[in-house]
């Protein structure tokens, strides 16, 4: 919940950060950094200030700093979220930050989401499968406007990894494709340009590492910064895959 934002902007903040460096053999430990809150301060601004003034070695990942690229997923007070668009004024003055679980740890707040997401793309073949090469000079094949919008709705995933970090199933089954993987399948299943059938998709997600593994805890949807309809997509896919598996 947002607090009334009449902030005077001068609170003393403490960032309590889970530090570690696997390559340097530094074991995980909490470290506190103190700084003064500024007007409109985001965790992007706060973390950069810590790095510039207090500890130049602090590791974290930001790219767009606008909530678009998905680089800065981390546990903010225990909950996965995008740091760049988290305003400090919406948080208590003691803010704990930890790296996203599940992903390979690089150091401090930096995790290797790239490796995980590439693995997902390879495993689920997250591209349009078409047997024909498009004629680029011909008029494009028409598509119903509503269908294009429905595909975009699912295409908005930014692969930030928040759903992966919030997933109870993934703690038990390392091979689970996660909400992100299932959403990708839902997206390509909806796309008439992809010639794969439900039987093909069943081969990819028709077991307990796929759509039947989900325990329906559904934190994925709670923490998705893009508000993707993950819950309905998983339920829908499960129904379709049951039909396909019969």
């Amino acid at each position: 919940m947002k607090k009334n934002a009449v902030s005077s902007g001068h609170r003393a903040l403490t960032l309590r950060i889970l530090r570690s460096s696997p390559t340097e053999g530094v074991a995980p430990h909490w470290q506190d950094f103190h700084l003064e809150e500024a007007e409109g301060m985001t965790l992007f601004i706060a973390l950069n200030e810590v790095r510039e003034t207090l500890d130049p070695a602090l590791q974290f990942d930001f790219v767009c700093r606008a909530g678009i690229c998905g680089s800065c997923g981390m546990l903010i007070n225990g909950k996965p979220g995008l740091a760049c668009r988290s305003l400090t004024r919406d948080l208590d003055p003691l803010i704990t930050l930890a790296p996203l679980p599940v992903f390979e740890l690089i150091g401090d707040l930096s995790v290797n989401t790239g490796k995980w997401m590439r693995g997902t793309a390879e495993r689920l073949e997250t591209w349009v499968h078409s047997s024909q090469e498009a004629d680029l000079t011909a008029l494009e094949a028409p598509m119903e406007p509503e269908l294009a919008e429905a595909i975009y709705e699912l295409d908005r995933c930014i692969e930030c990894g928040c759903c992966v970090a919030g997933c109870g199933t993934l703690r038990m089954r390392e091979e689970f494709v996660g909400a992100i993987g299932l959403n990708k399948i839902a997206r390509f299943r909806l796309d008439p340009r992809d010639e794969r059938s439900d039987d093909d998709f069943y081969q990819l997600i028709g077991d307990d590492t796929g759509v039947f593994g989900c325990m329906s805890l559904l934190a994925c949807q709670d923490v998705c910064p893009k508000g993707l309809p993950l819950q309905t997509q998983i339920a829908f896919l499960r129904r379709k895959m049951v039909a396909s598996g019969l």
Binding site: K2, P56, A57, F62, E149, E159
Partner: protein, 659 residues
């Protein structure tokens, strides 16, 4: 010594690099992509509003074609672009959109029948034809005669990047993430690859390649106030500059986007104005029609940004604790439109400003946005001065944009240039010139030199702070090399930047670990970024005219007689504190569209002596070909077919156009 060999090395995993890589891979060559971040995190994802291509499907795009897109682009560039390249680009852009459609990009589609839109502040009904139903839609953007910008809500770059990145996965192209090229390996005017640092382990590796392509994007982060992502530091352009062989073109041509949210500098798309949004001042007055009666809010970006700053200077800005700004009003578009077509804008407003743009005005002010300058290449994307080095996208000065880029032409350039450069690299690799002839002694020498520089930073006794030099450079660029430039300000910027460059040779670190070390990264990057900043500031100081985004208050006229030429910056020796500038004249007698008035902005250019002659020649050609089709006439004016890779030579089909 760790060496990795490949046919093609692509530095940069954004749209341009990915598309070039896919092209070369499909021709059967081994390709490796290096990327600072996972490729889907690249700044291409932040392109919101759309990409220009003259499909002409929408009723407001009727009559659009390559010719119209070409003229808009050349006028937009203020005649600074390479017209061959502009032709090549407008020809290929429709194919790029259609290829992306086949790859799954969910382009917004046309719905036949009536719909209400906002144009010039008024509600208007448009009727889309039945034949266009389901074809790719387009929205209006600045500086264009037709609605030509194809879009996916306001997440166009995201949708494009994901589709192309997944194609690279489909082609099994390895992407080596968190890897940074620190130097190019080159000798005798031939590039052989790059020395690359692993950002996690700190290890250096030599990547040896027949063809190397730099696609690292722009260098907006040399400015304090920029819409660019934090990774847009221009290191790819800088390492090309540091070869002393390749050169950077038109570095002083820097675009400032009119609408970034104030004060964070985060972009809100030109689509806001394209879809009918208005700019307003402190009094709530819509001021753009006062300055630009014809194009109003939809003049080119350089013009709108300048008018906004001019209006603030005249005392009409909204005062706030962070300084002054203006308002972007999209409330008139309605919540339904914003929820569907401007949803990223809505999210940005919610999260960073705590406002709802369907009810509240958005505080905006221009900020650095795009680098027209970059590695100077020929029309095939081959770097001038260094064989085997290619560049594409924002990192390149291919030179599609001249002194001002049109909105929607950059994300289009990434994929179009990627398509073209991918083919041209494949041709090069298959040619005799592409054979790899490099000694491991040279590779070792390059590796050792880079390791020595890192060791000096890590273990030397320098006392300067890289972060402080970076901050100072960014302040200088924003304060003195901005929208309004003067000889005095530029002179002082150049002096100060030289001082910073000298100081940057004595940076010392508090963190001496060789692996993941953000302080070390800042240190070696600021050394390179200062050279780029000097190319921009010094180029701007020397260019005593105003053209496109380069505006000199002391030389307010475009001077075609003296300055119809491209600045080329080289850096021959590491102890220089200024780039060496040369100039490449643009040939008026070969132009399809000789210099004239843009249709917006000032109308006071100093004419080039050859302009009138060329204009007469063109009218003579046009009347001689009176009844010929537009392709024949174009061919007679400025043939460019030889520059199109063979697979993209066909004519683009359009509704209602028979070819």
């Amino acid at each position: 010594m760790r060496i990795i060999y490949t046919d093609v090395l692509v530095v940069g995993g954004g749209l341009a690099g990915l598309r070039a890589a896919v092209g070369a891979r499909r021709r059967g060559h081994d390709v490796i992509i290096l990327s600072l971040v996972p490729p889907k995190r690249s700044h291409s994802a932040a392109a919101q509003g759309g990409m220009q291509a003259s499909l002409g499907n929408t009723v407001k795009g009727e009559g659009d074609n390559e010719d119209v897109h070409f003229e808009d682009t050349v006028r937009g560039s203020d005649w600074g672009c390479d017209q061959d390249v502009a032709r090549l680009f407008v020809h290929t852009a429709p194919q790029a959109v259609r290829e992306l459609a086949a790859w799954g990009v969910p382009w917004n589609r046309i719905k036949a029948g009536d719909r209400e839109v906002i144009m010039d502040g008024k509600r208007v009904t448009l009727t889309e034809g039945q034949a266009a139903h389901g074809l790719i839609a387009a929205r209006d953007f600045g500086g264009t005669k037709k609605w030509r910008t194809c879009y996916v809500s306001d997440g166009t770059g995201h949708a494009m990047l994901y589709a192309v990145s997944d194609q690279a996965v489909a082609e099994s192209i390895p992407v080596h993430e968190r890897m940074e090229a620190l130097a190019l390996i080159h000798e005798g005017g031939r590039c052989h690859g790059a020395v690359v640092r692993n950002l996690v382990s700190g290890e250096l590796t030599a990547y040896v390649a027949k063809a190397t392509c730099i696609a690292t994007g722009g260098f907006g982060r040399i400015y304090r106030v920029t819409s660019n992502a934090v990774i847009n530091e221009g290191i790819g352009a800088a390492i090309a500059l540091e070869t002393g062989a390749a050169c950077l073109g038109n570095m002083e041509a820097v675009q400032f986007h009119p609408t970034t949210i104030f004060p964070a500098g985060i972009l809100v798309t030109e689509g806001c104005r394209g879809d009918g949004g208005l700019l307003k001042d402190a009094a709530g007055h819509r001021f753009m029609p006062d300055y630009e009666p014809e194009k109003k809010e939809l003049a080119s970006r350089d013009v709108v940004s300048r008018r906004m700053e001019e209006h603030i200077r005249a005392g009409h800005g909204v005062k706030s604790r962070f300084g002054e700004h203006l308002w972007l009003d999209i409330t008139l578009l309605g919540a339904a439109h914003i929820d569907g077509k401007l949803r990223e804008v809505k999210e940005i407003c919610q999260h960073f400003l705590g406002i709802d743009p369907s009810r509240d005005l958005i505080p905006v002010r221009p900020a650095q946005h795009y680098s027209m300058g970059g590695i100077r290449t020929d029309a095939r994307g081959h770097a001038r001065g260094l064989k085997g080095l290619f560049a594409c996208g924002e990192a390149a000065c291919w030179d599609l944009h001249g002194f001002n880029r049109l909105g929607g032409n950059s994300v289009a350039e990434t994929v179009v240039a990627g398509m073209i450069v991918g083919e041209n690299m494949a041709d090069f690799v298959e040619s005799a010139a592409g054979e790899l002839q490099v000694s491991t002694a040279l590779v070792r020498e390059c590796l050792d030199a880079e390791q020595a520089k890192l060791d000096t930073l890590l273990h030397g006794n320098g006392t300067e702070s890289g972060a402080e030099l970076m901050r100072r450079m960014q302040d200088i660029m924003t304060d003195k090399v901005g929208i309004f430039r003067t000889g005095e300000l530029l002179h002082s910027a150049v002096e100060e930047l030289q001082g910073l460059l000298v100081r940057s040779r004595r940076i010392g670190l508090r963190t001496r670990r060789p692996g993941a070390n953000p302080e070390l990264v800042t240190a070696y990057r600021v050394q390179k970024m200062l050279k780029l900043a000097l190319c921009v500031a010094y180029g701007a100081l020397q260019r005593t005219e105003s053209r496109g985004a380069h505006f000199r208050e002391d030389y307010p006229r475009r001077d075609d007689a003296s300055w119809l030429k491209r600045t080329l910056a080289t850096w021959h020796d590491d102890f220089q504190t200024l780039p060496t500038l040369d100039y490449e004249a643009l040939d008026v007698t070969a132009m399809e569209l000789p210099p004239g008035w843009r249709g917006y902005g000032a109308r006071n250019a100093i004419e080039h002596p050859a302009t009138a002659g060329r204009a007469a020649e063109i009218s003579a050609i046009r009347s001689a070909f009176g009844h010929a089709d537009r392709f024949t006439v174009q061919q007679a004016l400025m043939p460019f077919d030889h520059l199109i890779p063979s697979r993209f030579r066909g004519r683009n089909a359009r509704l209602g156009e028979t070819s």
